[in-house]
């Protein structure tokens, strides 16, 4: 007679009951394991306590603040006249509290890992070892061949599915964290709505998606390609070009023009070389001239000088954070700097929107590749006339459009009176990864051009107090290809000498040198006292205007409140 079959549980019990291990080994493995999982957190706690003053509290214990934040969100979640009968309002409040809790949990968990002494001590050496010997990049960077580096979203633009594929658009529109608005993945409505609005104002729109490295230098990433081959594109590109053409939007593809130079991109940086940028500028200028029926200036209005700039690229320094590892060499390029360049913040017939592909060589701050020689400057020189430029590193799908909208909103539709064209440059990868949030251009009031928002004080600093109504948060350090980022505080109940407004928009560093500043500690509803200076003059003096700004999500009404803009260095929560 056969033995009865043992159940899975019986087998497991038998197995565990017969572990062959000596008491000494068992004690050792248990003791070492427990020591590892207990001692490290205690060391971290000790360090947190030591740094509590600088950080405004013990970081490990910040978990205790999560319920209080949830309660606050519950109270602010929705107005309820009679909670007993207003079920929908109550549900909204629960949802607000839950969403806030999810957000707080995510932030806490991220902080716990990223700010632990273990992470701080290990990330750079491990990344350096893996990059040098094993060719491993990270979430932002691929290690190419012969010292070349590639920004991962740029490669993904080329290898990924078509950015206009219905399935992809649907999937992206359902992405994002629970506490964030879902992204708007389709670039076409945003472009076409701007085009329609501009058409109604009698203004042309010219688009120039700036090519990414993987399109033009695939041979430096994969040995399956050779130099000088065809330009690689996303599968949806041709369909996009056709749709733009049918809608009457002028589209400039500078790839072919760029291929006339040998090195089109910097080895360790996301961006193009000065030579490739000049080739792209010429292509853009030619089409702009054709569109506006301008003749080429007989002599360039601004003279230039050649300046050598040496720097390590943003992928090596920021994405991989290997600036000091000695793995990648700094590159030297020669830029054509405009002598006595035009002021790109002054009103002009040509409006230019651009991202870091425009800022590189134009704005040394943040990018460190020299001044006054970038795309907007060179385009002005090529066209023989100044531009009004709105530029910002990153988020080109929305940020510069929003900057233009805010500017025009305050000026009224009269702003467009003397405008001929809007030239919009953005990194082509934005078509696949950008958040193309819609903008209601028709909200721009129908009135003549007026001066911009009131300026508080031309020079010098002053103290203001106010309560934070809205604020923006910086990205996680190391998760973006830049080291500095500005955030905004929108204050209400503002008081201060010489301030005639009840509201104010304050800008300050949220991230500096890949580290969060104390600006991340501000909360809505908090009263603050800040030492501020006028934003426009400070931005100009310190080249802050082109840095990535995380915009506080202001409603149109808030934008129309005409809040004075300030800058603060001092964050005193």
């Amino acid at each position: 007679m056969s033995e009865p079959r043992l159940s899975r549980e019986e087998i497991a019990n038998l197995e565990v009951g017969h572990t062959d291990i000596s008491r000494g080994t068992a004690l050792t493995i248990v003791a070492l394991f427990l020591a590892f999982i207990v001692v490290l957190p205690f060391i971290q706690l000790g360090l947190d306590v030591k740094n509590a003053k600088d950080h405004g509290g013990v970081q490990t214990f910040e978990v205790a603040a999560i319920p209080a934040k949830a309660l606050k969100a519950f109270k602010n979640g929705a107005p309820i006249d009679d909670p007993a009968v207003n079920a929908a309002g109550l549900l909204k409040r629960f949802n607000a509290a839950n969403t806030q809790t999810l957000k707080s949990i995510d932030a806490y968990e991220t902080d716990l890992k990223d700010n632990s002494f273990l992470t701080q001590a290990l990330v750079s050496p491990m990344q350096a070892f893996n990059t040098r010997f094993l060719g491993q990049g990270n979430d932002l960077a691929y290690i190419g061949r012969d010292g070349w580096l590639f920004f991962r979203p740029g490669v993904n633009y080329v290898t990924g599915p078509g950015f206009l594929d219905d399935d992809r658009l649907l999937k992206r529109s359902r992405g994002g964290a629970a506490w964030e608005d879902a992204p708007t993945p389709d670039p076409r409505p945003a472009i076409l709505e701007l085009h329609s609005y501009l058409q109604a104002q009698g203004v042309q729109l010219i688009l120039m998606p700036a090519p990414v490295k993987a399109m033009l230098h695939p041979e430096h990433l994969s040995s399956r390609y050779t130099a000088g081959g065809p330009v690689l594109q996303n599968p949806s590109w041709n369909a996009f070009v056709s749709e733009m053409s049918e809608a009457g939007v002028t589209l400039v593809d500078p790839s072919t023009a760029m291929q006339t130079v040998s090195n089109m991109f910097l080895k360790t940086d996301t961006h193009w070389t000065p030579e490739a940028m000049l080739a792209a500028t010429k292509a853009l200028a030619d089409i702009t001239r054709d569109t506006l029926q301008l003749s080429a200036p007989t002599t360039p209005p601004w003279s230039t000088r050649a300046v050598e700039v040496t720097n390590l690229g943003d992928i090596a320094a920021n994405s991989l954070q290997l600036a000091d590892a000695g793995i990648f060499q700094a590159e030297t390029v020669t830029i054509q700097q405009l002598i006595d360049p035009p002021d790109l913040t002054k009103d002009a017939e040509i409006v230019f929107l651009g991202d870091s592909f425009a800022n590189i060589y134009s704005v040394d701050k943040g990018l460190a590749w020299g001044d006054d020689a970038g795309l907007a400057h060179q385009l002005a020189n090529e066209l023989g006339q100044p531009l009004l430029a709105f530029t910002q590193n990153d988020n080109a799908a929305f940020a510069t459009r929003q900057m233009l909208f805010s500017h025009a909103l305050k000026q009224g539709s009269g702003f467009w009176k003397n405008k001929k064209v809007v030239i919009w440059e953005f990194a082509i990868r934005e078509l696949a990864v950008g958040n193309w949030k819609p903008i209601q251009w028709d909200l721009i009031p129908d009135r003549g051009a007026v001066s911009t928002h009131p300026v508080a004080a031309a020079t010098g600093s002053q103290t203001i107090t106010g309560t934070i109504r809205k604020l923006s948060r910086p990205p996680k350090p190391g998760s973006v290809p830049y080291r500095d980022c500005i955030v905004q505080l929108y204050l209400e109940g503002v008081q201060g000498d010489g301030i005639d407004s009840k509201v104010a928009l304050i800008r300050l560093f949220g991230m500096q040198d890949n580290k969060w500043t104390d600006a991340t500690k501000f909360e809505p509803g908090q009263q603050v006292t800040l030492e501020v200076t006028d934003w426009a003059s400070t931005a100009k003096a310190r080249q802050l205007a082109t840095l990535r700004v995380e915009e506080a999500e202001l409603s149109v009404d808030e934008l129309l409140e005409d809040a004075p803009n300030f800058w603060t260095d001092l964050a005193t929560p």
């Binding site: 497991a12 068992a26 427990l34 695939p218 390609y225």
Partner: protein, 486 residues
């Protein structure tokens, strides 16, 4: 909160072990502590869903008491199992139906609502009535709902069948349903498997040490093998199109990723369970050395396949109702098994292929040509079939799955940029771990066998691999966990 995270290892686990053993020291079973910890663990993913789990727990607890006829009897009387195969009253049958229906409704609503809406939208758009599409409605899937509803149901069914004694103590029952080590990704623990352990279990140094070994090895499998393979798989599967070689590398990498990811998590769950005195049965048994799909399902996600066998296949008649009915039952069970994994027609196809293969292998009989092939050939054939099914499991939609299978057969067109994938994944780092993963899959021993005898050398190796895994986890952002979405 995933096991392979700073928060779990350096905060939650240490806290849980400390509180649990403190509670036991003061004379309790530690179940209240474990339940509270488990609710915290679950609520960390989304606080709203703890109410859902609590509701499901209450319903099954009450149903269990009704089935066991506990109401109206002396509460202090000892719990006894019903007579197996005995007759049941109407109230008992209704209570069982309430339990099953409530769990399946919960699972059905949260898991398949979106699929229903998407299918409806696809249909109305196909008939040119796109304006009827329901675009605004989306439901968030509660974490681990597939696992705990199955566990909860098994309680009522086991009590009804007389396979286990009911639990009077609500805390004990809550502890069983919510037990954090296996709450969100299994293994699925059927009630009768842990019923006695909830009443009494032992805590020994050997058991704890083996638990540590399980946890450390599971963590190493997850971080050191699953993650690099996942990187390769993502590069291939996220591409718009992919070449012949890259598609095979991608799907093999995915097969390694899902195996190490899930079996690593199971090992960690078993390990934490052992540290808390619980013994959970084996969930994986070197599945890629299977010589047939039938054998594969004896080795892959064993807790699910045995659940489906005991609670679905056998009640449907199993192999007792003739050949044709057996084939239908096999196919049906696997189809439903596929659907259990996720709300997508791809999962249905994945389950359908497996079910079809199970029926086909049974039809072939013991004297088929296939059975006469050498062992290596049978392993290879089985693995290749499994790889094709993984394509349906990994991709988001049927179009992508078919196009990827086309690439594996050299039939799909490849766009110019597809070659860049090579530059992204054929790096020493990924290739080393990819090769190591393959070696361990086919030549290594699985965790149960490896930890049966723990020598000082093995203990050192286990701890070192754990420390290295923690270092890698700390320094890298890429740390997905596949079964968290099921």
């Amino acid at each position: 909160m995933v096991f392979s995270s700073h928060l779990f290892i350096f905060v939650f686990l240490a806290l849980a072990l400390g509180l649990y053993y403190t509670a036991r020291r003061f004379g309790g079973k530690g179940h209240l502590t474990l339940t509270l910890l488990s609710y915290l663990f679950y609520g960390w993913a989304n606080p709203m869903f703890v109410f859902l789990m609590f509701g499901s727990t209450v319903i099954d607890y009450v149903c269990g008491l009704v089935i066991a006829k506990r109401f109206g009897r002396d509460w202090s009387a000892p719990d006894v199992a019903l007579e197996a195969g005995g007759s049941r009253t109407k109230a008992q049958r209704i209570a069982l139906m309430v339990s099953i229906c409530s769990n399946l409704s919960l699972l059905g609503f949260f898991k398949y609502f979106n699929l229903g809406v998407d299918s409806f939208n696809g249909l109305v758009e196909a008939f040119g009535m796109g304006d009827m599409a329901l675009n605004a409605i989306r439901i968030t899937l509660p974490l681990g709902i597939s696992f705990y509803t199955f566990q909860s149901m098994s309680y009522s069914i086991d009590i009804y069948r007389g396979h286990a004694r009911p639990i009077r103590n609500f805390i004990d029952f809550s502890c069983y349903v919510s037990l954090f080590p296996q709450l969100v990704a299994g293994p699925i623990i059927r009630f009768h498997e842990v019923a006695e352990q909830l009443r009494q279990r032992t805590h020994t140094l050997d058991k704890f040490a083996r638990g540590v070994a399980f946890f450390c090895l599971g963590m190493s499998k997850k971080v050191l093998l699953a993650n690099p393979c996942g990187w390769i798989a993502d590069a291939s599967f996220n591409a718009g199109s992919v070449g012949f070689v890259d598609s095979w590398v991608g799907v093999v990498a995915y097969s390694f990723q899902i195996y190490y990811d899930f079996s690593g998590y199971s090992d960690m769950a078993i390990g934490v369970g052992l540290m808390l005195g619980f013994v959970f049965p084996k969930n994986f048994d070197s599945p890629y050395i299977s010589q047939s799909i039938t054998e594969f399902w004896r080795r892959w996600h064993i807790s699910l396949s045995s659940w489906l066998r005991d609670y679905l296949y056998i009640p449907l008649g199993g192999n007792r109702l003739g050949e044709v009915r057996t084939y239908i039952n096999l196919a049906l069970v696997m189809l439903l098994g596929g659907l259990w994994h996720g709300a997508s027609w791809n999962f249905v196809i994945w389950g359908g292929i497996h079910g079809g293969m199970l029926a086909f292998e049974r039809l072939q009989g013991k004297d088929s040509f296939y059975r006469s092939l050498p062992r290596v050939a049978k392993i290879a054939v089985t693995y290749i079939i499994v790889l094709f099914t993984w394509v349906f499991f990994r991709t988001d939609d049927l179009g992508h799955a078919l196009s990827y299978c086309g690439s594996m057969l050299g039939l799909s067109s490849v766009h110019d940029g597809a070659g860049l994938i090579a530059g992204a994944v054929y790096k020493p780092y990924y290739l080393i771990y990819f090769a190591l993963a393959g070696i361990v899959v086919w030549f290594g021993v699985q965790t149960w066998d490896y930890t049966r005898k723990i020598t000082p050398f093995k203990a050192t190796l286990i701890l070192l691999s754990f420390v290295y895994a923690v270092v890698v986890m700390t320094t890298q952002q890429f740390n997905p966990f596949i079964y968290f979405i099921f």
